[in-house]
């Protein structure tokens, strides 16, 4: 907010910037450069991003211990570029590793929406895929894909850390082929890839 007592001119540089941006946009669209840059940039970003996926430090239940073991020296997820971050604003991947209760459904959606695009979700373990052994429970949702869109499912109860690292590998393949679909177009997305024996 510009104050009267300050020494700025009241000329708004913001408006000038917007005008120049719009003109630029129309010029690029007219010359088809925008599509070219979009495709090239998008593909380049996918290529760069797929091997450096930052999941969120979210530990729900037992699969969280296998996630921690995947970060341990024996399986070493960090050598695959997987570095856990504590804040959802800095993450690419939301790794759901446990059953989602009715109380936690709202925080999960909030975490998902706090993550900036492009973002992906991995459902790890039976509880996140379909409710798991608690499918009959009065308090557990039947799978996290009832509230957020899931890209990769990793079955197992709990899946071994090698399976988790393989799940990240499948996500890498998905990224390089499909990329991340922005949230307005999620209904266009195809069937999710299930990690099983290939």
């Amino acid at each position: 907010m510009v104050d009267e007592g300050q020494n700025y001119t009241t000329f708004s540089s913001r408006g000038l910037l917007d005008m120049v941006g719009d003109l630029n946009d129309k010029a690029l669209e007219a010359s088809r450069m925008k599509d070219f840059i979009g495709v090239l940039g998008g593909r380049f970003l996918n290529w760069a991003q797929r091997k450096s996926l930052f999941p969120l430090h979210l530990g729900i239940k037992c699969c969280a211990l296998e996630m921690a073991a995947a970060g341990a020296p024996r399986f070493d997820a960090e050598s695959f570029g997987v570095v856990f971050r504590s804040s959802p604003r800095q993450c690419d991947v939301l790794l759901i590793n446990g059953p989602i209760s009715k109380k936690f459904a709202d925080p999960v959606v909030r975490l998902w929406e706090q993550m900036p695009e492009p973002k992906w979700c991995i459902a790890m373990g039976e509880c996140a895929i379909s409710g798991g052994p608690y499918f009959q429970s009065y308090n557990i949702l039947e799978g996290v894909d009832t509230v957020i869109p899931v890209d990769v499912y990793i079955p197992g109860c709990p899946p071994r850390p090698e399976a988790l690292i393989d799940g990240f590998g499948k996500l890498r393949e998905k990224i390089i082929r499909i990329g991340a679909v922005p949230s307005e177009e999620t209904e266009v997305r195809g069937a999710p890839i299930i990690v099983a024996d290939d």
Partner: protein, 219 residues
């Protein structure tokens, strides 16, 4: 060698308690029961009490019998039984834990001389059961001020089973979401599990694993 409390010590302590409880009157029944813990037959004290006498019994157990630890207070709903629809079961323990002794301004940790303990120092298990006839609002007196460990147990019992505790300060939902409907207590028997009536022999929806001789069979 690993020492442990002798079965005889436990039995004599249990019998002592049972004979003392007889002084309470008709509302309280006590007996010595045994349970098999793998390969043993250790004794424990089982007391049946009415809800109105529960606080008096609890205070007496704590003050004169040194029962210092409340393990669990839980509730069961028996809808077919009209005289005893609601049952509250309290499990208490006498542990014998005291603050370590301070001698000459130095703290000495306590290593219990297991063969030497007797009387009120023998660790013992208690199971106390009280029933309430059919009512819409079952309630028993709270013992959260006697043993603070009972506080969250009572919250959970109210939250899941629906039995209220008189005199409990700060009763609230602890396991279910805070905005659960009032009066929703899932462990009551009229609430059923999801898919509770699914009694197919095989639980695969498409039926790939079924054999023809099993058609029409239930689990």
């Amino acid at each position: 060698m690993g020492n442990e409390v002798n079965a005889k010590q436990i039995l004599s302590a249990a019998e002592e308690i049972v004979s003392d409880v007889a002084d309470f009157g008709d509302a309280v029944n006590a007996e010595v029961r045994y349970h098999t813990s793998g390969r043993r037959k250790n004794a424990y004290v089982y007391i049946e009490v009415t809800a109105s006498q529960w606080r008096e019994l609890a205070l007496w157990l704590k003050k004169s019998k040194k029962v210092d630890y409340c393990s669990m207070i839980t509730g069961i709903h028996w809808p077919e039984n009209a005289d005893a629809t609601w049952q509250v079961v309290a499990h208490l323990l006498r542990t014998g834990v005291t603050n370590p002794a301070v001698v000459n301004k130095r703290v000495h940790e306590t290593k219990v001389d297991i063969e030497g303990i007797s009387g009120n120092e023998v660790p013992l298990e208690f199971e106390i059961s009280m029933t309430i006839p059919e009512t819409r609002e079952p309630s028993v007196p709270s013992v959260a001020d006697i043993w603070v460990g009972a506080d969250w147990n009572e919250k959970e019992t109210w939250d899941l089973v629906g039995i209220d505790f008189d005199g409990h300060v700060g009763m609230r939902r602890v396991l279910l979401p805070h905005d659960s409907p009032t009066g929703y207590h899932p462990l009551q028997k009229q609430h059923k599990l999801r898919y509770h009536d699914f009694n197919e022999m095989y639980d695969d929806a498409q039926g790939f694993g079924r054999k023809p001789e099993d058609s029409g069979r239930v689990k």
